[in-house]
C-alpha cells in the first residue's frame, strides 16, 4: 500500500519529481563517467607500465639512474653467467640503455638509445618489428617521438654516440615502425634498436644496463646477486611513484564524486524539507485516517527512494548512449599527455567495470534514502492535531 501511495505522490509531484529525477540521473552519469575515467587511468597506468617497462622487477646495474638524462657509459656491464641463465630460461630480457644524439630532419636532438632483443616476449613493445632486412640499423619509435622528430616509417637518420673508449661514432638508422607506446618516458626522446646492434656499436659484448624479469614467474633473485655490480628492484619499488600518482588521481576523482553526489543530495534534501512543510495537513489527514507515524516516515522515505530509482531509468535512457560514446571515442586529454603521465595517451577511454554501475546505483540509492530519512524523522514528533492545522509540534 505504501509503495502504491508513494508512486501516486511521485507522479502527482509532476515537474518537481521530474526535476529531482533529472538531477539524480545527471549524478549517476557524472559519477559513472568519472569513475570510468579513473578506472581506466588506474588500469592503463599500472598495466601499461608493468607491461612495457617494469615487468616483474628489474635487475639493474648499480650505476644506472633512470632519472639521469645523460646516462653514463659505465652504467652497464656484461651480464653475469648466473643471471644470464634467466635469459636462457626466457624469464628475463636484457636492455642496454645509453645516451646519444640523433639528427632527424637535419635537426639535432638528445636521445636515449635502448637496445632490446627483437625476439623478447616479456615487454609489450613492438620489438619484433626490428626483425628483417633493412638498409640501416632498424629502429622503432613511439608516436610522441614521431611528433617530435617528424620521422615516418622508412625514413633514415643519423645517430651519434660515444663508445666505451670515449670515441664518438655515428651510424645511419632506419625507422622500421612507429608504434603506440603508452609509457611516455619510453616514447618521447627514445629510440629502440636491436640489442646486438647497440652492443656492437658500444663494443660491449654481452652488456646490459638492466634485465627485466617476467611478471608471470616468481623468481628467486637473492642468490643471483652476489656481484656488487647488480642490484634488484622489485615491481613494488618500481611502481611506488605510480601508486602515489594514482592515489592523487583517485582523490581528485572522489572530489568530483562528492560534488556530483552532493548536488543531487541537496536537491533531494531540499525537496524533502519542502515536501514535509507543504504536506503537513496531508500528514495529519493520513494520521487521522489511521496511518501510524512510522508508516508516514516510510512513505516519505520511499517517495525519495523512488526519485533515485526513476533516475536510474532516466540515466539508462539518455545516459547509456553518452557513456558509450565516451567509451568509443574517448575524451581528448592532450594536456595529460604533455604532463608525461605514464600510460596516458592523448585520449582517455573510460572503462566501466561490471561492478561500477551496480555499486554506483546502490550507493546513490542508499545515500538518497539516508538523506531523505533525516528530515523525515521530524514526523516522529509530529502531533496529528498540529499537522491537521498545518503546524509543526
Amino acid at each position: 500500500m505504501l509503495l502504491r501511495m508513494a508512486l501516486k505522490n511521485f507522479f502527482g509531484g509532476g515537474l518537481r519529481s521530474l526535476l529531482n529525477v533529472f538531477v539524480l540521473s545527471l549524478a549517476y552519469i557524472g559519477i559513472i563517467g568519472m569513475q570510468g575515467i579513473g578506472e581506466n587511468m588506474r588500469r592503463s597506468v599500472f598495466e601499461s607500465i608493468i607491461a612495457e617497462e617494469v615487468g616483474g622487477g628489474h635487475i639493474r646495474h648499480v650505476a644506472y639512474d633512470p632519472y639521469d638524462p645523460f646516462i653514463e657509459e659505465e652504467s652497464f656491464a656484461p651480464v653475469p653467467d648466473d643471471i644470464k641463465e634467466l635469459q636462457r630460461e626466457g624469464v628475463a630480457t636484457p636492455l642496454l640503455i645509453i645516451s646519444g644524439i640523433a639528427y632527424p630532419q637535419r635537426r639535432m636532438q638528445s636521445v636515449t638509445l635502448r637496445g632490446i632483443e627483437p625476439e623478447q616476449e616479456i615487454l609489450s613493445l613492438p620489438s619484433r618489428k626490428l626483425r628483417g632486412d633493412f638498409a640501416a640499423v632498424p629502429v622503432f619509435i613511439g608516436r610522441r617521438m614521431q611528433r617530435i622528430t617528424g620521422l615516418s616509417e622508412g625514413d633514415t637518420f643519423m645517430v651519434r654516440w660515444r663508445d666505451r673508449q670515449g670515441a664518438f661514432d655515428a651510424r645511419q638508422m632506419q625507422v622500421a615502425s612507429i608504434s603506440t607506446i603508452y609509457s611516455q618516458r619510453l616514447d618521447a626522446g627514445n629510440i629502440w634498436l636491436p640489442l646486438e646492434d647497440l652492443r656492437s656499436m658500444m663494443k660491449a659484448e654481452d652488456a646490459a644496463t638492466l634485465l627485466v624479469l617476467s611478471p608471470d614467474d616468481r623468481i628467486e633473485i637473492a642468490p643471483l646477486l652476489e656481484s656488487e655490480e647488480w642490484t634488484f628492484k622489485s615491481q613494488d619499488e618500481l611502481t611506488a611513484d605510480l601508486r602515489e600518482l594514482t592515489m592523487m588521481m583517485d582523490i581528485e576523482l572522489y572530489i568530483f564524486y562528492f560534488i556530483f553526489l552532493s548536488l543531487a543530495l541537496i536537491s533531494v534534501f531540499d525537496t524533502q524539507i519542502l515536501s514535509l512543510f507543504r504536506r503537513r495537513k496531508e500528514m495529519g489527514t493520513l494520521m487521522a485516517l489511521g496511518l501510524t507515524r512510522r508508516q508516514l516516515i516510510r512513505l516519505f522515505t520511499l517517495e525519495s527512494a523512488l526519485y533515485a530509482i526513476f533516475a536510474v531509468v532516466a540515466a539508462a535512457i539518455y545516459g547509456t548512449s553518452i557513456l558509450l560514446l565516451f567509451q568509443k571515442y574517448g575524451i581528448s586529454m592532450p594536456a595529460l599527455d604533455d604532463f608525461g603521465i605514464p600510460g596516458i595517451t592523448d585520449a582517455i577511454y573510460p572503462y566501466y567495470s561490471p561492478t561500477l554501475i551496480p555499486v554506483t546505483i546502490v550507493i546513490v540509492v542508499a545515500v538518497v534514502i539516508i538523506v531523505s530519512y533525516i528530515p523525515t524523522r521530524k514526523i516522529a514528533k509530529l502531533r496529528p492535531t498540529d499537522a491537521l492545522r498545518g503546524k509543526w509540534s
Partner: protein
Amino acid sequence: METIITIKSMTKHYPMGSGKFTALKDINLEFGRGEFAGLIGASGSGKTTLLNILGTLDVQSEGEVTVLDHETQNLNQKEAARLRSEKIGFIFQTYNLLPHYTVYENVEFPLLLLKKSSSEREKAIKEILDWIGLIDKKDSRPGQLSGGQCQRVAIARAMVKKPSLFLADEPTANLDAENSHNILQLMEKMNREMETSFLFATHDEKVIKYLHRKIKLFDGKVDSDETVKQAG
C-alpha cells in the same frame, strides 16, 4: 441506548510559556449509539480539542475517556491509529482530500488501510459513491470538484469503512447554504438509516438546526446539554 463514549472528570491543559492553558476543564459526558449530537460554542471554547481527544488524535491531561470500549489514555500510538482506521470516521472543515488521488482512490484509501480485498473495495466504493450521488465523478480529482462535491467525497471516505462514530469538525464552514443543507441531510439520512453516531464541533447555525443534542461549551466547560425532541 448503548453508550459508546464516556468522559469522566476530563481536563486538558496545554503548556503556555512557563505556565499552562486549560482548554477543557472537568468535562463529564456520555454519548449513546446513533446520536446526532453537536459540541457548540464560540471559537476557543474547546470544541475541536474535545473532538480531537475523542478521535484519539490528542490525549487528555486528566480524567478518563472511553471511546468504543477503549480507554484512550491507555492506547499507544499504534492502537490509537488502528481504532481510528477501523471505527472512527473524520470529516474536516477543509475536506482534506488527497490531492493526487481520484475520487475513487480517495474513498478507497481507508479500505486499503483495513487490508480489504480488491473485490470488497470495489463493491463498497461503488455502493457509497452511488449513495452520495458521485459515481459519475469517480475518476475526477479533488481539484476538479466543487466544495460541496469535495465534502461529499470526504463523507464517502469516512463512511466507506462503516465506522461506529463520525467526528465532524465544522463540516459546513466552507460551503454555501444549499450545499450545507445537502450535506447535513445526507448525514442525517446516514444517521437514520445506518444508526451511525455523529458528533459535530460547530458554531454554524445551519448545522445547529439539525442537531438532536446540543452540548454548549463555554471557556472549556460544559455550559448546557440539551436534547431536542424529534418530530415523529
